[in-house]
Structure formats: structure tokens, C-alpha cells
């Protein structure tokens, strides 16, 4: 079962990766994605809101789908909430598998789905005091929907 956390505190990519690999000799590859807050257009901070309870359940469900679809030895998803200035880490997806392609593909799958299915909302706060809610992007839906058709797993390591 995947490790899923929604937290205000920062996370430590190196420590999470070490935890997923600890004591194992059956992992061929670990893939990670870290999403960060960019200082676009004078952004002062993002504030992330979530739906406590549903968010964790939704991420667990997405992670369970990934584990059913790819032969993973482990999977960690951490999503931060609260106020995050530019440069701060927002989200971590980490996947481990005996197979390189499984780790890479499941990592991309999970971040694409987090963007479109996990109940988080971002509010942008600008240096000039303006605030606005980020609107959902059609590209993110397109990125997520490319996973709808089952793809054959490449048989490599």
C-alpha cells in the first residue's frame, strides 16, 4: 500500500527515497517528480486548500490504481497544503519497481492524475495584493486522459 500524506510541513526527497529502498534488493529503478512553486507574474505565494478526508482517500485510490497497473515495490505521494512562497516544494511522487519503465510511467501517471482528480485548490497571491483562484487547465485533463487506454508495459529493466 502506498504512503500518502497531506501536510503543511516540507518533505525530504532523499529521505523518502531512502525509506522506499531501505533493506530491499529487488528495486531496479526509482522515479520521482517534485512539483515546485514558481514566481510567475509577480507571484508572492500560493495557498493550497484541500478536502480533509476525501483528499487522502482519493490519493490512496489513485495510488492503488497505479499499483494494480504497474509492478511497483513501493509508492509515496506527499502533497503540501497551506501558504507556499515561490521556490517551495508542493508535491512529491515517488515510485519504485524492478522495472525502469514501470517506475517512470507510474510516476508520470500519478502526477497527471493528481493534477486533475485530487481535491486540492490553489489560490495565487501577488506582490501587488491581488489574489485569484487558479483555474483548471484543459492541458492537464488531456495529460491525464492519455492514461485512460491501457498501454502495454515495455518489458525492460
Amino acid at each position: 500500500m502506498a504512503t500518502v500524506r497531506v501536510q503543511q510541513a516540507p518533505f525530504d526527497l532523499g529521505a523518502e527515497a531512502a525509506l522506499l529502498a531501505a533493506g530491499r534488493t529487488d528495486i531496479g529503478g526509482m522515479a520521482s517528480f517534485v512539483g515546485l512553486c514558481r514566481a510567475d507574474d509577480g507571484l508572492a505565494a500560493l495557498t493550497l486548500e484541500h478536502y480533509p478526508g476525501m483528499t487522502e482517500r482519493a490519493i490512496q485510490a489513485i495510488a492503488a490504481q497505479a499499483e494494480a497497473r504497474w509492478p511497483l515495490t513501493g509508492c509515496t505521494v506527499i502533497h503540501r497544503v497551506g501558504r507556499l512562497p515561490p521556490g517551495e516544494q508542493i508535491v512529491l511522487v515517488l515510485t519504485a519497481s524492478s522495472h525502469r519503465a514501470a517506475a517512470l510511467e507510474s510516476c508520470a501517471f500519478l502526477i497527471d492524475w493528481l493534477k486533475t482528480r485530487a481535491p486540492f485548490w490553489k489560490r495565487e497571491e501577488f506582490a501587488d495584493g491581488r489574489e485569484r483562484w487558479v483555474e483548471a487547465k484543459a492541458e492537464d485533463d488531456a495529460a491525464a486522459s492519455r492514461w485512460d487506454a491501457p498501454a502495454p508495459l515495455r518489458d525492460d529493466h
Partner: protein, 83 residues
């Protein structure tokens, strides 16, 4: 019913949630939205464009025709923007 609001839905309505008891003919998400929209100008504003509103019933994404009943936890929010 326990209603929850998130993001700008919460801001427009002016509260994070409320306990409501709609009349018995309100049995679907769509009917509940119609009923809630009539509760205050803030509600009307929040539900003005139904296409921008998403709903979850008991923490699962729901469609407008989904049945709702007393005791359900029903959340309304904009399309998600996490990741």
C-alpha cells in the same frame, strides 16, 4: 445533510459548510443545487454557473443525477487544481 464548500465556492457563500434540511422532493445533487442557490445572494452567486461546480457525495465525486439523502456529506467546489 452536511454540506461543505471549498475554494471560491466557500468564499462566495461566506462559510465552510452548513447543516441543511431541504424538503423531501430534493433527492438529487442537481435538485440540491437548485434549492441551495435560492438560500441567499451568496449561494446564488456561487452556483450561478453550474458548469464550474464539482460535487462529491460522501467523499466520492458525484454527477448531477446522483441521489442524495439525509445524513450524507455533500461537498461543492471548483474543478481541482492540485499537483
Amino acid at each position: 445533510m452536511n454540506i461543505l464548500y471549498f475554494a471560491w465556492v466557500r468564499q462566495k457563500i461566506g462559510r465552510a459548510g452548513e447543516e441543511v434540511s431541504p424538503p423531501p422532493e430534493v433527492t438529487t445533487v442537481a435538485a440540491l443545487v437548485d434549492w441551495l442557490a435560492a438560500q441567499s445572494p451568496g449561494h446564488a452567486d456561487a452556483f450561478a454557473n453550474r458548469r464550474t461546480i464539482r460535487c462529491a457525495v460522501n467523499q466520492e465525486f458525484a454527477t448531477p443525477d446522483q441521489v442524495v439523502k439525509p445524513g450524507d456529506e455533500i461537498a461543492f467546489f471548483p474543478p481541482v487544481t492540485g499537483g
